[in-house]
């Protein structure tokens, strides 16, 4: 049988989450097809076709799929599902929205946020905010998985491009309509894929402090900016920057937590980072229990000093 990987596409084309989920999909042991669904996403399909180990790309190009709403997308996947015994998507907001809808239509129990593929039907996944790792075996005929992208390296481009085949989209009456979106644009690296992340917490105290304290450090390190939920709730940072159990899960080479206490829900989103640095004026803050390097100091003096020390 075959595996279907649903591509993650954003305004700039094929998102790197696809190449990371592909690494997990290939481990299932069957040929992998990538589905590129949307409107005018030929370039994303071409990028997907160049990834190493892809058998073919199936391109569904239709105005009805323009905003990749869950209802028509699920119908589309169901229309080709008979060809597959595994359906995989990255555990992005889009993947989490779509995949359970497909699983239910197939009468299958989804395995969410897979962090290791132990065999074609056996997987590891974190539960309880990452405080435990569950190994589960699926008894369903079809496996439906979302993949935690931070747990898998991206698959590189291969030497030959896989064929791209167009698939038709059957018209269905829309159940929901797209009204609009407010997407943030930033010149900084994307949080989910960045090699270095600098995150700020409640202690920053204002949106302005994120700009004057966190941003210069992030820029100096060419890092993405992240935030704790407390900082997001207080309006210091956008919701798309939240790191944690219910935000984004990241595993960069270097994670710098500034003025973040280290609540379990925050740790769930960053404790697999290679090197963790914590800057906090409270020596007892739980973040120091996971930090490789802890600096007990007021962030408003420590962070500017750090920027300066990096230039020395």
């Amino acid at each position: 049988m075959r595996t279907l990987l649903i591509a993650e596409i954003d305004a700039s084309g094929l998102n790197e989450a696809t190449a990371k989920a592909l690494t997990a999909a290939v481990k299932l042991g069957s040929p992998v097809d990538i589905l590129v669904a949307g409107s005018g996403d030929r370039a994303a399909a071409e990028a997907a076709s160049r990834l190493e180990g892809v058998a073919r790309v199936r391109l569904a190009d239709d105005a009805a799929l323009a905003h990749r709403l869950a209802e028509p997308l699920a119908e589309l996947v169901i229309s080709i599902a008979a060809d597959y015994d595994a359906i995989v998507a990255p555990a992005t907001a889009a993947g989490k929205n779509l995949l359970p809808r497909i699983a239910a239509l197939l009468d299958v129990m989804q395995v969410s946020e897979v962090t290791a593929v132990l065999g074609p039907d056996t997987f590891e996944r974190p539960i309880y905010a990452g405080n435990a790792i569950e190994t589960v075996q699926s008894r369903d005929g079809v496996r439906v998985l979302t993949v935690r992208t931070a747990a898998f390296p991206p698959t590189a481009e291969g030497s030959a491009a896989a064929p791209i085949e167009a698939i038709g989209v059957a018209p269905t009456p829309p159940l929901s309509t797209f009204v609009g979106e407010a997407l943030t644009t930033s010149a900084r690296p994307e949080l989910a894929g960045a090699r270095i992340v600098v995150s700020g917490g409640r202690a920053l105290g204002s949106f302005e402090s994120f700009e004057t304290v966190i941003a210069p450090l992030a820029d100096r390190l060419n890092a993405a900016i992240g935030a704790s939920r407390a900082a997001v709730d207080a309006g210091f940072a956008g919701n798309d920057l939240q790191v944690g159990q219910t935000g984004k899960v990241v595993a960069p080479d270097l994670y710098v937590a500034v003025g973040i206490s280290g609540a379990i829900q925050h740790l769930a989103g960053m404790k697999d980072s290679k090197v963790i640095v914590a800057i906090n004026k409270d020596a007892e803050a739980p973040i120091f229990q996971v930090a490789d390097y802890g600096l007990v100091e007021d962030l408003f003096t420590a962070v500017p000093a750090l920027v300066k020390a990096l230039d020395d």
Binding site: A74, N97, L99, P100, N131, T184, G238
Partner: protein
């Protein structure tokens, strides 16, 4: 219009759980339990719609053991009108089975809107709402941060990876809540007393004709790898020196 709110009894948000000695699950003996935080947000959202005169009744439903009745009482004390307990002693009821049970409940309750949490903080599945929408053939808006209800449609702002997206759904529909949707109220003591007298019906998966046998077999539950304790550095300059040694800079 009636709003149905499924609520799950889960480990309290402040508990740091431990894996049990034989590695088969989580040690839940004497652990504080509470309503899943995202379900509280869902109840609050429904109550606000009722208080705004846009909903006639808020019904909370929970699937679980006798103890889940406490979670329903919490919902009733917050202000929900009625509770339904789908009682089972099964140790695990997976999202697919929960969605099927909720479908059966919808069959008799006929709500115009179902509001669920986006995620239960125990299994961290983030599946049930989407599955229910699929089984019903209804539209879905997951990770909601704003809900505007009209007579025959609902407009929902939802949190996506790059920011927010706004969708308009035909009713009936399924919504799942994100953290920023609202700040749930606490139940006052008089309301906790009043909740004891509110109707709470009981049914079972058998009575609803739903097979809840798990599809995923848990082979093992283990502690995650522990991080080795780190060191404290004396200054920013010291930190930079250490980071240069490790090669991450």
């Amino acid at each position: 219009m009636k709003i149905l709110v499924p609520v799950k009894r889960a480990v309290d948000r402040n508990v740091k759980v431990r894996v049990n000695a034989d590695g088969t699950g989580i040690d839940l003996a004497n652990v504080k339990m509470a309503m899943n935080p995202f379900c509280e947000i869902a109840v609050e959202a429904a109550l606000r719609l009722k208080e705004a005169g846009q909903a006639s009744e808020v019904v909370v439903v929970s699937i679980g053991s006798e103890k889940s009745a406490e979670t329903l009482r919490t919902g009733l004390a917050m202000g929900a009108d009625r509770g339904i307990l789908v009682k089972t002693d099964a140790p695990r009821v997976e999202p697919l089975a929960v969605a099927k049970l909720l479908k059966a409940v919808i069959g008799t309750e006929a709500p115009g809107l179902v509001i669920l949490g986006k995620q239960a903080i125990d299994d961290d599945s983030n599946q049930t709402g989407q599955m229910l929408a699929a089984l019903m053939g209804w539209p879905q808006a997951t990770f909601a941060s704003k809900i505007d209800l009209e007579a025959d449609a609902v407009t929902v702002a939802r949190e996506v990876d790059g920011g927010t997206e706004t969708l308009r759904l035909a009713l009936p529909a399924v919504i799942t809540t994100d953290l920023r949707l609202n700040e749930p109220r606490y139940a006052s003591l008089p309301n906790i007393m009043k909740a004891k007298k509110k109707p709470l019906d009981e049914t079972t998966p058998e009575a609803l004709g739903v097979d809840i046998a798990p599809r995923l077999q848990v082979l093992k539950v283990a502690e995650p790898p522990r991080r080795a304790g780190g060191v404290k550095v004396a200054s920013a300059a010291d930190l930079v020196a250490k980071l240069r040694e490790t090669g991450v800079l």
